[in-house]
Amino acid sequence: MSGFDIVFLFFAVITIGSAALVVFSKKITHAAFALMFSLFGVAGLYVFLSADFLAAVQIIIYIGGILVLLLFGVLLTVKISSITITTQSTQRIWGAIAGTGLFILVLTIIIRADWFIPEKDPGDIYFTQSRQIGERLMTEYLLPFEIASVLLLAALIGAMFMIRSEDK
């Protein structure tokens, strides 16, 4: 079992374990945060399947967009009394140790790393997938692309129309 496999297994366990937490946790805010880790694990799996662009899109759209939307939904629909709002911090010492340790670890990696120096002509290697996706979207997949943009516009207008308040 190589390190590659171990990291793959790690992402798989994160994905499925967090998804199980989404299903079986009692508190909905916990479920929402577990969903975040699950989506993050899926983004990691995309990297293993050499879908780098899709991994970035997954993090930006799912974690940055959909999850925030779901959390808004949670906060707007639960009764205020059922949320226990805690702003106190606990376990400061362990948090400080973990934070400093992580920073030192990252710092060591940055200093020790033998950063890759590109050749004169990078060619197609770096942007293979993004470039391919862009070209395909503008040629072969132009009709689905346009339909998707119309769908997004319709969803935007529909959501705004439904959510507006009734009183003039």
Binding site: F8, L9, T15, I28, S38, L45, A51, L70, T77, M162
Partner: protein, 101 residues
């Protein structure tokens, strides 16, 4: 280790868990989370088949469109859920059973 089968197994587990959430959860937003898990499972399958069974990037492109549809679904469904909450003061799906007030 990283083969088509292992990716499909991960996708299947994710799909099953999402399906379980859709079936068993009372809160409408938890059901939406289950739907997101199902869409992610489908995406993993698209990308895995695209990676292991073809030299093209159709799988990634289809997955992109699935993400677009997931976004529209989440926005519209949350608007509906908030409207249900405004009208009935609850989002528990077993209590939302009347067709009109």
């Amino acid at each position: 280790m990283i083969t088509l089968d292992s990716c499909l197994i991960i996708g299947a587990a994710l799909f099953t868990l999402g399906f379980l959430a859709v079936l068993t959860k009372r809160n409408a937003i938890s059901v939406l989370m289950g739907v997101e898990l199902i869409l992610n499972a489908a995406n993993i399958n698209f990308v895995a088949f695209g990676f292991f069974r073809s030299y093209e990037i159709h799988g990634v492109l289809i997955a992109l469109f699935v993400i677009v549809i997931a976004v529209s679904e989440a926005a519209v469904a949350l608007a509906i859920v908030l409207n249900i909450y405004r009208n009935m003061r609850t989002v528990n799906l077993d209590e939302v059973d009347s067709l009109k007030k």
